[in-house]
């Protein structure tokens, strides 16, 4: 393979010698110059005629972008999507967003400065640059100062460049060769790589599948979950009778749950609704309805469920005429006993909630069967 000279490198003893050489050779204008130094040499940029680094502008732009991103993110998360009121301050108070805004600004700016400099402006990493394989690289990273002459245009006369460098006082001169182009990749290698990659993907996939199958949802450490506690329907050594669940103390009852006297619908139909038809009662009924009933009966109690039809039994259409005339007591009774697929709400709702549900059902029915005078 034919070696083509890429540049001629001369070594100098001191920064001063380097700077004067740059000045002399730049004046001739035949070459483009590049200096290699172990540490930044003041004046080298100016001598080589390099432009100012655009890094500061890049950092400014990215830093501002960081500030904007951080602010908008926080504002959207905590003021719009999931508003949190802290200390009675307005939900869009910006002051609390400042610390994170500052940190994210610095993060964006710093990584632009560091990685932008290395990767974008200096185009590193570069392991194939001719200097890295030259004899002078060790001296240049230690204490010598190098000046490389590269052809500005046209063919490169390495001999003339060498002579010029010696003339301006280079101690040693070396010809840097063009790096060999990377060898073309053989199809066999490509095939092997592809097969290897496919195999690795397959192994990772199968491995994940079987691990998850054999160890389903394994918590990393469960010790904190395993502490003495009462579990419903499970035995417990805590009580004398060895049961986790205890019946109420005889002669007492829970608040809001008076004993229910009726066994039959006929009995229930004679019960009167003890609650007045007041806004507060209706509000309570509405909350209970939306929480416990709407999934099956629909938000308008018309039997069109919010859940899918997959639910087997058809929930009653409480807007049908049969239910318009149903007594409050019988509604109450249904809630106490449940009916076919509908569960009993004796334990999950209080007496008041059940009676206010009856009021609210009336309100829903009235709304769906509004008469002319209701509109006046």
């Amino acid at each position: 393979m034919l070696k083509r000279p890429a540049a001629v490198l001369g070594l100098f003893e001191s920064p001063r010698a380097l700077l004067s050489a740059i000045e002399l050779l730049r004046a001739r204008g035949r070459w483009s110059l590049e200096a290699y130094t172990p540490y930044p040499v003041p004046g080298a940029e100016a001598a080589l005629g390099l432009k100012r680094s655009p890094l500061a502008a890049m950092v400014l732009i990215m830093g501002s972008l960081g500030a904007l991103t951080a602010y908008l993110f926080q504002w959207w998360m905590n003021s719009v999507d999931y508003p949190i009121v802290v200390g009675g301050k307005p939900v869009d108070a910006w002051q609390a967003y400042v610390p994170v805004l500052f940190e994210v600004t610095v993060l964006f700016a710093a990584f632009t400065a560091g990685l932008g400099m290395l990767l974008l402006l200096n185009r590193l990493p570069d392991f194939r640059h001719p200097l890295l394989s030259s004899k002078s690289a060790a001296a240049l990273t230690r204490d010598k100062f190098g000046l490389a002459l590269e052809p500005a245009e046209g063919p490169f006369d390495a001999g003339a460049a060498e002579a010029a460098l010696r003339e301006v006082g280079a101690e040693a001169v070396e010809v840097l060769n063009q790096p060999a182009p990377p060898a073309p990749v053989k199809p066999r290698t490509l095939l092997l790589l592809a097969a290897g990659g496919a195999l690795a993907c397959l192994a990772a996939g199968l491995g994940t599948y079987w691990t998850l199958k054999l160890f389903p949802a394994l918590p990393p450490m469960s010790h904190m979950l395993e502490h003495p506690k009462l579990v419903p329907q499970k035995p417990s050594a805590f009580f004398k009778d060895g049961r986790g669940m205890q019946a109420g103390v005889p002669g007492t009852m829970a608040r809001g749950r008076l004993p229910y006297p009726c066994k039959t619908e006929a009995c229930a139909s004679r019960l009167a609704n003890p609650l007045p038809r007041a806004a507060e009662v209706l509000r309570k009924g509405r909350k209970a309805f939306d929480t416990s009933c709407a999934v099956c009966h629909g938000a308008l109690a018309n039997g069109r469920p919010l859940l899918s039809e997959a639910y087997g039994a058809k929930p009653a259409d409480l807007q049908s005429s049969r239910f318009l005339s149903m007594e409050d007591g019988r509604i109450y009774h249904t809630l106490m006993t449940g009916k076919s697929a509908m569960p009993s709400f004796a334990s999950s709702l209080t007496d008041d909630e059940r009676w206010s549900l009856a009021h609210y059902l009336r309100a829903l029915q009235r709304a769906q069967h509004a008469e002319d005078e209701d509109l006046r």
């Binding site: 540490y39 610095v106 990584f111």
Partner: protein
């Protein structure tokens, strides 16, 4: 400076970079074995904590924060010296920083690593720590950005990543020098990759110097913000003794104070054992000791202002807690903090003592002890008697607490020892640029 006159760039490289090429001495192995044992003990006890739950520690109600957060604040404070030296002193053009900046920066990173462990393990269930980060989830929840604890997550993780970047940027040209010294082989390959093929091109230096300057400016703001944010964890709450406006500057001063003590401690050992006495000179140590003296006075002033604010507030809760600081069950910790932080560093008014190695070591260790106890005072004493006397509770650390504290020191010194043998402890590139040259007056 006289001693540097005998140094040339070549001899600097030879002395600093060759450390990684030689076999480490027996003393290094011994030190590493000791540090790594402590570290392993610490990690084992952390694993035990994760298994048993936080109940393995002495924390209770109302002392819900104890060694975990004391150690966190202690280590993050230590981690402030490095960036201060590399960023703020760079902007002030304080040339004495060159010899010590690399080691101080490395210590910053290692201290932040130690610090970061504590909030993580004190979560109790660290495997769900991602809940701290904003990511879209099906629960429709976002972190509360009005909480100082979230600010802390952002401040500490930004500080770590920016310090790492800063440190690495400084290392790149030095690693390039090490690469050129290495014989072909695996070591050379690793160094080549780490140095990104840096070749010292003038057009690269132009961007590099700009980047370094910009990073220094950014890190300056960062270093001041991080400990301020840490102090918000306390100051934004309503606990008497925490809810104080002086906390941010007071914490930053304390951080610099303890950080410099640790740098002096480590450097006076490193220069002796690695024979770098003429590069890290008594002058450098003296400058750091002056900073310690200045920040010690700042600490004394902060304590006085804090006490005055408490007294002047006419707030009975504040009065009570401040009495506890000095005359309560844990009063001795308060006196330890005052003695070690405000009185002992006053030795440094004498220039003879400032330059004496044993005195320096003594003061540095005293400051580290004092600053640890200061955080004990702030955290444990303020918490153990809250507004509701029926819930007052004394705090007693368990062996696990002590073991994890020891483990964090083990981790720190393991990392320092590895760094001292694997990477240049002196920023050689930066030193070379400032060595006096023969032709300087030609």
């Amino acid at each position: 400076m006289a001693p540097e006159a005998t140094l040339s760039p070549a001899s600097l490289d030879e002395r600093v970079l060759s450390a990684a090429e030689r076999k480490p001495p027996a003393a290094w192995w011994l030190a590493l074995a000791a540090a790594a044992s402590c570290m392993s003990l610490g990690f084992a006890l952390m694993a035990y904590t994760l298994y048993m739950g936080i109940g393995a520690w002495g924390n209770n109600r109302p002392v819900v924060w104890a060694f975990d957060i004391i150690n966190f604040v202690f280590w993050i404070g230590i981690g402030h010296a490095g960036t201060l030296i590399s960023a703020i002193l760079l902007l002030f053009r304080a040339r004495w920083r060159n010899a010590i900046s690399r080691t101080a920066e490395a210590m910053t990173l290692f201290a932040v690593v130690c610090a970061g462990l504590f909030p993580l393990i004190h979560l109790g269930r660290p495997w769900i720590n991602f809940w701290l980060f904003p990511y879209p989830n099906q629960r429709g929840l976002w972190p509360n950005f009005r909480s100082p604890l979230i600010w802390d997550v952002f401040a500490v993780s930004t500080y770590f990543s920016v310090s790492l970047l800063f440190w690495y940027l400084g290392l790149v040209p030095d690693i390039a020098s090490m690469r050129e010294r290495a014989r072909p082989g695996l070591r050379k390959l690793v160094l080549t990759v780490l140095s990104l093929g840096w070749r010292g091109e003038a057009s690269h230096w132009r961007h590099y110097e700009k980047a370094y300057l910009l990073l220094a400016g950014l890190a300056t703001g960062l270093v001041l913000s991080v400990h301020s944010v840490v102090s918000f964890d306390f100051a934004v709450s309503l606990v008497p003794g925490w809810h104080m406006t002086i906390f941010p500057p007071y914490f930053v001063a304390g951080a610099i104070f303890s950080g410099f003590a640790m740098v002096v401690l480590v450097l006076s050992v490193v220069r002796r054992t690695m024979r770098l006495e003429d590069i890290i000179t008594p002058h450098h140590l003296e400058m750091m000791n002056k900073v310690i003296l200045a920040t010690s006075c700042l600490m004394a002033y902060s304590y006085l202002v804090e006490g005055f604010t408490a007294w002047y507030s006419m707030n009975p809760y504040l009065h009570h807690i401040f009495k506890q600081y000095l005359w309560g069950t844990y009063g001795w910790t308060g006196w330890t903090a005052i003695f070690c932080n405000c009185l002992i560093p006053q030795l440094f008014w004498s220039s003879r003592l400032r330059r004496s190695a044993p005195v320096m070591l003594f003061v540095a260790v005293a400051v580290l002890i004092g600053m640890w106890f200061e955080r004990f005072v702030i955290i444990v004493i303020s918490l153990h008697q809250d507004f509701l006397p029926s819930s007052w509770h004394l705090y007693e650390p368990t062996l696990v607490d002590y073991g994890i504290l020891l483990g964090s020191f083990g981790l720190f010194f393991t990392l320092v020892l590895l760094f001292a043998r694997l990477l240049p402890v002196i920023a050689t590139t930066e030193m070379k640029a400032h060595l006096p040259r023969e032709d300087a007056h030609a």
